[in-house]
């Protein structure tokens, strides 16, 4: 499995191909949203909604053999696309790796100017929640 750093490099170069064209970038992100796995219907509930996002975002995580397995969904395709990028970088890794991850790809692909500053805050809230899950599993594993 590639490292977090390598996957981020991959994403950055994919977005570089799209260049400055916001239209193709937005379409691409929405297409990515389609690749997000199916979210369990019974988990689509209030307590799994991430606060601080403008669109609705549901996030759950499981500890699968010491690795964190994330599942998420949103009511907007663009947000789904963004989540799919985060999941691609962080999924199925140990809590330590996730907690130590420096996610620089978001700034490097200029996400702020693509999705606007308010959505960027939502993205930060998503990352924070993903790290919180990792932290909880780490604490449990060390107990």
């Amino acid at each position: 499995m590639s490292s977090i750093k390598d996957i981020q490099e991959e994403i950055v170069s994919e977005f570089e191909i799209l260049g400055d064209d916001k239209e193709s970038t937005v379409f691409y992100i929405m297409e990515l949203g389609g690749s997000l796995g199916k979210f369990p219907e019974n988990e689509r509930k209030e307590e799994n909604i991430i606060k601080g996002c403008q669109s609705k975002v549901w996030l759950i995580a499981d500890d699968v053999d010491g690795k964190v397995h994330y599942q998420a969904d949103s009511n907007t395709d663009i947000t789904k696309g963004l989540i799919s990028l985060l999941i691609r970088v962080l999924n199925n890794r140990s809590p330590e790796e996730i907690l130590n991850a420096e996610l620089n790809f978001i700034n490097r692909i200029g996400m702020g100017s693509i999705i606007g500053s308010q959505r960027s805050n939502g993205l930060s809230a998503m990352i924070k929640q993903m790290k919180l899950y990792a932290f909880a599993f780490q604490t449990k594993q060390n107990a």
Partner: protein, 407 residues
Amino acid sequence: MSLNIDQIRGLFPVLHQEVHGKPLIYFDNAATTQKPQSVLDALSNYYGRDNSNIHRGAHALADRATQYYEETREAVREFVGAKEAAEIIFTKGTTESINLVAQTFGRKFIGKDDEIVISTMEHHSNIVPWQMLCEEKGAVLKIIPINDAGEIHFGEFEKLLSPKTKLVSIVHASNALGTINPVRKVIDAAHAVGARVLLDGAQSTSHLEINVQDLDCDFLAFSAHKLYGPTGLGVLYGKREILEAMPPFLGGGEMIKEVTFEKTTYNEIPFKFEAGTPNIADVIAFKSALDFIKQYGKPAIKAHEDALLAHANETMKPIRGFIPVGTAEEKVSVLSFNINGMHSFDVGQMLDAKGIAVRTGHHCTQPLMKRFGIEGTVRASFAVYNTKSEVDKMAEGLAQIARFKNK
């Protein structure tokens, strides 16, 4: 008179730019309109030449600033057809104007079990102040239902009226749907039971000719920034006898006649409601915005906008998955819609990528969205400087976006 739109566009510097590498198409006019150069000049002239505090100074600059400030008040009086300039109060915007009425008129004249009537299509700023008042006073908020086209049920409205009704506060033109409400009939019916009427004119004043004396409304609230004027400035019109009977809103300078530690007497209207140093620069610049509207005339502006709306309706209708929201007979130039299977935010982002600025979401009308069983809409709203070719570009863009989901 048909307008020379090219020439008008030339007066708006902001329109001549690219966003995301595409020429800007600004269709978010119901949120705020752009400002003509004359308004920008008035702002910079005020600060560069006339800046001083008004009404109190004994010097040339203060005199000048006071004169310009009061000239705007007179221009607003004329704009809404009020009897006298003293009935025009400057506020921060529609929101503050409505809150002012709730906190002064409402607190004094609305009591336990009294009723306030609003409609399903109100902006949050014409809901929340009344909820706060009702909570404080034990008064009751009644809601006029609407039909699927987004028009009020007049018969149901009449049934809500009774001697308990103290105030009807209703939007003149809906920001989310564009519906123009039959305010004349509403006012007459409300007055027949002794209720006062506040019109939220935030969306109507830029399109419709308004004469508060003909309409006989008791209050009218609106915002300068939706009228080609500066942000952070609004107007409350009120009938003299009501304004005089109302207690002051904020306490401080300007609004007093005499202050002693024992008792303060209040200034005359409108100053009673303009505590502190007002938004002098924006008030002065607002006159240029009103002059701009006057120069072309609202009938000509509305005719142009109506033509754009009709053209938009026609060009969007064939788009697969296009769902219009709000199809009232009488509308201002607001086109609210959804694309089947898509969230309004996604549609808005894709339009933005094409240089087209629209509003998405609930438009501060959550109860209305709930009535339609939707989370929000995409809203394109047209102003005098928009063109048919811009509408065509949006239709092309939307057709492409809709194909993304409605293959």
